[in-house]
């Protein structure tokens, strides 16, 4: 049998595995966003010769240091002017901004509304964890009303900022909302955002267990993810705006290649509010989850069967990995030893990989 190493997953070629483990707290959502982004970049063939990452500051900003791309770790709040200028000077590059909600919508809020006004052709991934995490847990621009934080001990008295409304103030901008739980949907949203020729914003609800989640009553990150699973539902077919806790992609009015209406769902979302009518041609449409039958532009040479096979294979590996000591797991993840060797050393027959 072929020697199987956990580190062979393709997207890992986009990450600096030698710097792992990351600085992020256990249970943090940022790593998931990074992996989903790396998967999309890998799938689209975007590498360090054609793509630049521009990050905000703080926890989320550190993502740029773990990815194998030239990256700019900007001043707090200043991702968009930097990104827009890079795109102006080098229009052939894909410019991807990754920043937290405070960076994007508070200190960088003015840049956000004007980058949208100018339809800067950049992709923004907003790690929206509804808190200032690195500084200990202060109220952010997206913190829900009533949430108790270090800086609003009596509960946040303010209404959170309406990111959807701000982004959708432009007829050219794409807005998508997803969560760290809904990973395939997140991947679709990131892919669509990167491929959108115009300003694209992916609003990713994400968990900060250490400096927010526990304070508001979650025992661990898994509880927060479970909350996302149970609470967030995909938007009704053809919706032109996302209601509270609705997931989907809102294409701009002038999106050329997009037929309206919603594709078939995936098993990721528990509920399926499928009511709603297809809007008139030219109007915006929500597409919650992609269908495998949907016409996909020729951007990936990997067939769906092949993807499914790889997915099953990696899940099998992951399950076997769970039976190893954490230290050994880390060695395997870094590629220092192969999974087969590690399994053998732990008294597990590597043939189980084939089973």
């Amino acid at each position: 049998m072929p020697e199987a190493a956990f580190a062979e997953l393709d997207f890992k070629s986009k990450l600096k595995m030698d710097l792992f483990p990351t600085i992020w707290c256990p249970g943090c959502g940022i790593g998931t966003i990074m992996i989903e982004l790396a998967m999309v970049l890998d799938e689209l063939g975007l590498d360090q010769a054609n793509t630049v990452i521009v990050t905000g500051i703080g926890c989320t900003g550190r993502m740029g240091s773990y990815m194998k791309y030239d990256a700019v770790y900007t001043l707090h709040g200043r991702t968009l002017p930097v990104a827009e200028a890079i795109k102006t000077v080098r229009p052939e590059l894909n410019v991807i901004v990754v920043a937290g909600d405070g960076d994007t919508a508070s200190i960088g809020g003015n840049h956000l509304i004007h980058a949208i006004r100018r339809n800067a052709r950049v992709t923004v991934l907003c790690n929206n964890n509804e808190i200032y995490g690195l500084t200990g847990g202060q109220t952010g621009p997206t913190t829900p009303s009533g949430t108790k934080t270090l800086s609003s001990p009596g509960g946040n008295p303010n209404t959170p900022i309406n990111l959807q409304g701000i982004v959708r103030s432009s007829p050219h901008a794409l807005y998508a909302r997803t969560t760290v739980y809904h990973q395939p949907q997140m991947r679709t949203a990131i892919r669509e955002a990167i491929q959108h020729d115009g300003f694209a914003f992916v609003d990713i609800t994400s968990q900060c267990i250490e400096n927010n989640g526990r304070r508001i009553g979650f025992a661990n990150a898994n509880e927060m993810l479970t909350f996302y699973r149970k609470t967030y539902k995909r938007a009704p077919k053809g919706a032109d705006r996302l209601g509270p806790f609705e997931l989907g992609i809102l294409y701009p009015e002038d999106h050329a290649d997009r037929t309206n209406g919603q594709a078939d769902g995936s098993s990721q979302t528990d509920g399926d509010a499928s009511a709603g009518e297809a809007p008139a041609a030219g109007a915006a449409a929500a597409v919650a989850v992609p269908t495998t039958e949907a016409p996909v532009p020729a951007r990936s040479s990997v067939s769906d069967d092949e993807k499914a096979r790889k997915r099953a294979e990696s899940q099998k590996k992951l399950a076997l990995m769970q039976r190893l000591d954490p230290e050994v797991k880390l060695q395997v993840a870094k590629g220092e030893i192969t999974l087969a060797d590690a399994l053998r050393a732990a008294g597990i027959d590597p043939a189980e990989l084939e089973a």
């Binding site: 600096k16 710097l19 600085i23 590498d47 360090q48 010769a49 054609n50 793509t51 630049v52 521009v54 500051i57 740029g64 240091s65 990815m67 194998k68 791309y69 030239d70 990256a71 700019v72 770790y73 900007t74 001043l75 200043r78 968009l80 002017p81 930097v82 990104a83 827009e84 200028a85 890079i86 102006t88 000077v89 080098r90 590059l93 003015n110 840049h111 509304i113 004007h114």
Partner: protein, 378 residues
């Protein structure tokens, strides 16, 4: 072709001659003409990147992004906008981003007296951002010099990999002088870009341009160095020495007028032009490179004079630097409130040379309402 050229336009044309291909700015008098000229240039030259930003913070950060992407980039502003740019200037210092920031000074602080001329940003240029850094700054006093120093600023920025400041003031900016731009352009030498642009080499190790201290080389490359003083020292002194070494290639100053006189006047920018009628009775030291301080040059010159007087449109900002460099008294004639006139200069000189105070006599507030001069003139 010889024609009337405005100081602001000369700055822009000098930038173009130096290879600038990106401008970001926000309207603010008295720098606005640079934005206007840049927008016109961009309309005629599609390869020239132009951004009218939402504010000066965005302008400054866009210049950083454009430069990292490979363009020679600049912005222009005046005092209040320059204050907003300070954090970005610190970032460009830390990261090593070649870039040019033009500050056309007016009377401050805050909105101040728009747009009477001032020179109040001499210290801000040196110390405006947080932390320690070594800025390079030039200050012309004529239209052709504005052109040439714009070129020098871009070249020094490339050589030092740092944000270089080109100072100006309302009068230099709005001065119109007969200049042959073609002739000036023909004499320009352009420093090449040393820093590889973003995403230019798919095979090289990916770079992480960070405002936070990171290990850039060696076994820890890519990891934060936020608690390592040794690494801070390595990076700080490397930048400081590099900037000083590049500045030394531009020891720009003027030593003239009556060099047999006993009193040396220090004056720069428009003040050195306004004071020119004093030529028969005084010597002049005009620093053109404002930062880093021309310490050795000034020391050698100052030794020849009994008295030194700094004439400047601020409350002694360069005088403080000169006094520290010379370890001897530098008398001050502050030309404040936009009153940069030969009368004010003469009155000030008479005062301080007679061992009077720096401060001019302050007239009492008028008891009755008086007709004021129109805005921007009186």
């Amino acid at each position: 072709m010889r024609r009337l050229v405005q100081g602001n336009e000369a700055v822009f044309r000098g930038a173009i001659a130096a290879g600038a291909s990106y401008y970001a700015g926000y309207p603010i008098s008295p720098s606005t003409e640079i934005l206007n000229v840049a927008s016109g240039w961009a309309a005629e030259h599609p390869e020239f990147g132009f951004l009218q930003a939402e504010d000066e913070i965005a302008s400054a950060n866009a210049v950083i992004g454009a430069s990292l992407a490979g363009a020679k980039a600049f912005t222009a502003t005046s005092g209040p906008g320059f204050s907003l740019m300070q954090e970005a200037i610190g970032y460009a210092q830390k990261v090593g981003v070649p870039s040019v920031f033009v500050d056309v000074q007016r009377v401050g602080p805050a909105t101040g007296m728009p747009t009477m001329p001032g020179q109040g940003d001499i210290a801000q240029v040196r110390y405006g951002s947080s932390g320690d850094y070594t800025p390079i700054a030039f200050y012309p006093n004529s239209v052709p010099e504005a052109f040439n120093l714009a070129v020098a600023a871009f070249n020094a920025a490339e050589e030092s990999r740092s944000p270089v400041i080109l100072l100006s003031d309302t009068f230099v900016a709005h001065l119109n002088e007969v200049v042959d731009l073609d002739e000036l352009e023909a004499a320009v030498t352009v420093a090449p870009r040393d820093l590889a642009p973003l995403a230019s080499d798919g095979a090289a190790d990916p770079r992480f341009f960070a405002g936070v201290l990171m290990y850039e080389h060696g076994p820890n490359a890519g990891e934060p160095a936020t608690a390592d003083a040794d690494e801070y020292l390595r990076q700080f002194y490397a930048a400081k020495h590099r900037h000083q070494e590049v500045a030394d290639r531009y020891p720009l100053y003027e030593h003239g007028w009556n060099t047999d006189a006993s009193t040396l006047i220090i004056g720069y920018g428009i003040v050195s032009r306004v004071a020119a009628p004093l030529a028969p009775d005084y010597a002049l030291f005009r620093p053109i490179r404002i930062h880093p301080m021309l310490t050795d040059e000034l020391r050698a010159i100052a030794d020849r004079y009994e008295t030194i007087v700094a004439l400047e449109a601020n409350d002694g900002q360069y005088a403080d630097m000169a006094e520290l460099a010379l370890r001897r008294e530098v008398k001050r004639v502050p030309l404040l409130g936009g009153r940069i006139s030969l009368e004010a200069v003469n009155a000030g000189l008479a005062r301080v040379l007679g061992d009077g105070p720096d401060e001019p006599p302050i007239p009492p507030a008028p008891a009755e309402r008086a007709d004021r001069a129109p805005l921007g003139i009186g």
